[in-house]
Symmetry: C3
Subunit: 450 residues, 3 copies
């Protein structure tokens, strides 16, 4: 088993990158047809993905679902009649949630609506204004510097009107009603590491989960617009999630191939945190370790007081920590197949660790006699010695209190390397899994929630 778990799936990296390329041109925002189109494509990959529309004006805790934004076109016209900052060339050119406009302005008047980055003169910044009505254009500093005085025309063909916010969820049933929750966001336009790596890697994690013969946990996977979407989702599912979710991850920035990162849940010591640290310690020992004070994505909601879900983040390079972040430079060239596969693989190992982390007890006092059961290698080599040592250590600590993960932490080995040995010991009836009922409270509600 462990072989198939750790064997590189380079082709998976290519497939994830292909899906990201398909989603790349779509102009996503926190509402609108871009989100719908994105979820439609993901739904093609994930049978069972269910799309939910939540009407504008719906109250969600302290927030209200805003008007839906849709945009068809946008551009600026220079005094010489030349169009530039065209939405059709790059959807970052328009400030997200810009109100419609078609007016003529002097360069001075236009300037109040322009955004650029003096320190990154070739990058178009990514700017939004969801809750304060305005319009604006983003362009590179170099382009901006070249603007001559004169009359400009600004055109944004957008609508801001009652509609709905769209999200999707997929529930993959397991043997227990305990749930592992994955959340990722689908509200950024053409941005690669800080957007498309999230939903595409999550899609391939879901495909892998769907293909497993057995799943101990039920998996709940949400594709939501960031912040407002996670708040909407929580407002509709809070009690269910609090009762059933035993671990989970916010999946973001899992595509570039520079480093690995971990941002804890607020509690810091949940199963999610334990497996994240375990996995990264073995596959990327120099991973960057952040504090919950460095939070910035939907863990802000999932770990907020009163919600308190065990949600951590396992990332490649964290949002805000790489130079291309929130600019047009965050494109698919910085999320190569190997980068995306790395993010996928780290999270897959986290899920594996969760699935297989059980608590065992030995079947009798004292060490069992392994020899009479054929568990002692007859030929003694370095490799068999390590296997015997692992076997004895698992037996020595399987006291019904140490779970397998804590035994692996004590002995310094990755949990995925001992699964075969554990299986042998269970089959030899010297190791017995403890009954586990981890859902936080008895529940008679159906597992499917709205």
């Amino acid at each position: 088993m462990s072989d198939s778990l750790t064997r590189p799936h380079e082709s998976v990296g290519d497939a994830i990158h292909g899906l990201a390329r398909e989603l790349w041109p779509i102009a996503r925002s926190i509402t609108g047809d871009g989100v719908r189109r994105t979820l439609e494509i993901l739904g093609r990959e994930l049978p069972g993905l269910r799309t939910v529309e939540v009407a504008t004006g719906t109250q969600c805790f302290d927030w209200t679902v805003p008007d839906e934004w849709n945009i068809r076109d946008a551009y600026l016209v220079a005094p010489d009649g030349r169009r530039f900052a065209e939405f059709r060339n790059n959807n970052l050119h328009v400030v997200g949630y810009s109100t419609p406009v078609d007016e003529t302005l002097s360069l001075d008047e236009l300037t109040a609506h322009l955004h650029s980055l003096p320190e990154q003169p070739d990058a178009i910044p990514y700017i939004t204004s969801y809750y304060s009505r305005r319009w604006g254009f983003c362009l590179s500093q170099r382009q901006r510097n070249a603007l001559e005085p004169g009359e400009y025309r600004a055109v944004i063909d957008s609508t801001l009107a009652p509609g709905s916010l769209t999200y999707a969820e997929l529930v993959i049933p397991g043997e227990t009603r305990d749930e592992v929750f994955l959340s990722t966001y689908i509200c950024h336009p053409s941005l690669a590491n800080n957007e498309l790596s999230g939903p595409t890697v999550t899609t391939y994690l879901a495909k892998w989960l769907l293909g497993l013969e057995r799943r101990r946990y039920t998996y709940r996977i949400a594709f939501v617009p960031e912040t407002i979407g996670s708040i909407v989702y929580l407002s509709r599912n809070l009690e269910h999630l609090k009762r059933h979710v035993v671990a989970g991850f916010n999946v973001t920035c899992v595509g570039d191939d520079r480093t690995y990162s971990y941002l804890p849940s607020r509690a810091g010591d949940t199963p999610s945190d334990r497996v994240a640290i375990h996995v990264l310690s073995h596959i990327a020992p120099d991973f960057a370790r952040y504090s919950f004070l460095d939070r910035g994505s939907d863990e802000r909601q999932y770990c907020s007081p009163g919600v308190d879900l065990p949600i951590a983040s396992v990332m490649r390079t964290k949002y805000g920590e790489y130079p291309e972040y929130h600019t047009s430079l965050d494109d698919l060239s910085i999320t190569p197949p190997a980068g995306l596969f790395g993010g996928y693989n780290a999270l897959r190992h986290c899920l594996l660790a969760l699935e297989h982390n059980r608590t065992y007890r030995t079947a009798m006092p004292c060490e069992p006699q392994l020899g009479k059961r054929g568990l002692y290698p007859t030929l003694s080599t370095r490799a068999t010695k390590d296997i015997v040592r692992t076997m004895m250590d698992i037996l020595a600590y399987s006291d019904g209190e140490h779970d397998l993960l804590s035994i692996c932490e004590l002995t310094g080995v990755p949990i995925w390397t001992v699964l075969e040995t554990v299986e042998k010991l269970v089959q030899a009836e010297v190791l017995v899994p403890m009954d586990e009922e981890t859902s936080r409270a008895p529940s008679h509600q159906p597992a499917t929630v709205q």
Copy 2:
């Protein structure tokens, strides 16, 4: 609010020093008129200060209130008729609690009654003998070396007779019956850092408390002779103190301007310890951190088994740790106004931290929408970014379990810098203070104790 809390009060340092100068000449001991005169002056500063007399012979736990000691004069007469070691010049010249004497002795006989410090030849040592009847004189080694053989006369005009031990207490009522307890001692004669800094700084802390518009806690402030006085005080108030005192400090050595020091309570993790470490970490990060094994003042009684009050010490240079300690060199020149103000200010911030350290919870799950409440700055600057971050961190950790102090410890900011922000969040009804009932047990006794 935070401005007024942190603004320097240099004039307070001068005022404390002035009070110390007034108290300087008085010959204090653990009993007697020197204590009474001292408390009379403090009572002029602190309306409500109540003086208590406890008769000689009163049993207090394992101790008995001793005879009262009063002294009118003392000196030695040299063979040439010259007086020296005169009590009127320096009250340290007489061993505290010396029995009366008027006799003529050879230099050899006199020597058994003389105390000096070979390593500090210009210093008069401070010596007492409360529980073993003797008499003696203290003088500088230089003066002692100059003594010629011959007949000396020793005169001590003292009385040791049944009377009483005197202490004083001030109770400043607050909104709750939970108490903060301050204790300081008034039994050393003319000594500055290790005596007068204590009662004078405590007096100005009491004045500041009396001037506050609101006090969450009731403050109980005791001026007692060291050791026997705190034992007497505890023997009369133990049950009340154990029930109501939630924090407190023994105030001693708060006047020299060299360093800051912290000596923990025996438990080590009381609210007093937490605020002491918090305050000193911010206002004097290189403060000296002692162990309870280094104890030496009334925390020996307050933290003794069976008493177990949460009493820590925040000091400038600790007793025993500076060269002038317990000698005539510990005079007002080593406790300048800036030194006394420093001790006052550190303790005042500890009391502020106690007053304002509440536990809050957020009013709803998920982050509140600060924008619609005008709590999000419209102009984004470095400073406003920090304010927003502080606001979000307070909200993120206000889970009804983390108190404000622990949130400030997590985020590394002084508690007094976030009070304004907390107040805004409370007024905006996104943050809710938890009900707090911290007195250790219900009580139907009157708050005033004898």
Copy 3:
């Protein structure tokens, strides 16, 4: 009292070494007459030592008592008729539990039955094969290299037949039914540090215990063959041991004079671990500190899940960690009297620490007045100052929760240096021992177990 506790007993080292010399030639194994002869000699030293025979075939948890092995002679005959690898010269020459043999073989055929150590050409290795029937000879690599082709004769005059496994135990009653358990093994043939140091040091610990006027604990001391013997012992006494044993040690490798070592119990924080660390920190501060992962002796059984006894190991150089381990070089020259005395002395101090580690409370709130009880030295010297400080520290922390050991850990002094002071404070009735009932559950069983 502390003087007699810490005074060197060099003669004890000589006596232990003498006993080891007497036991040296005996061919011990996990069963057989060598074990019986060994226990007979120990029984002469320890009146009350009870020998127990457990029949071949007895089921003990997952194990079965094997056939008994006895050996009378063994040797190889070279082609030139010369005998070598003679059992009578060194009982390591025969693989333990070798089946009987008398056959002629070519050098090639013989080779499959020979064991030597290329890296230690002068050492005879120690090899056994308890559960897989075979025969073999061990010899030095140098001797092996000299073998010429030709016909060899192999003779082993052994028997493997139903019989019994032999162990012994000694119970030394104390004031309580709480037990301290010592276990050591008697199954290795002529090996010194990793065998004879164990039973000989344990014998002298038992003699010392028998000579004590008072014993707070009952001592249960087991001499067993390693692994199978401890499993047999546990299978017959498990409930009693789990109920009564509060601390204990597996005594092995306590004879060489190189270093001191500590291997924790599985729990790691039992009284045994606490006293082991305390004692070694004071008598050998640079002691080697192992992990339970480094286990290799009977703690594997005593600390196994379902057994969970508080058994740690205090050793000189640990098995497996010195070059002579499990070879003929582990002879009595590497366990000199000073080495054996060191092991004995370290364990004796551990037992002393256990005996005297009580929890006390002070008799009254606040510090007692030591002066009126004559506990305050009248002459103040450096030494008396330390005594007073120790007295005050013991009183300051005797709150009914800190035991004496934890107070000594806080203050950094060995527990055996404060026993006299504690005794004085108890006699002065300022310190009161807490009632202690440490047996894990009430029991109406007789203290003697089968």
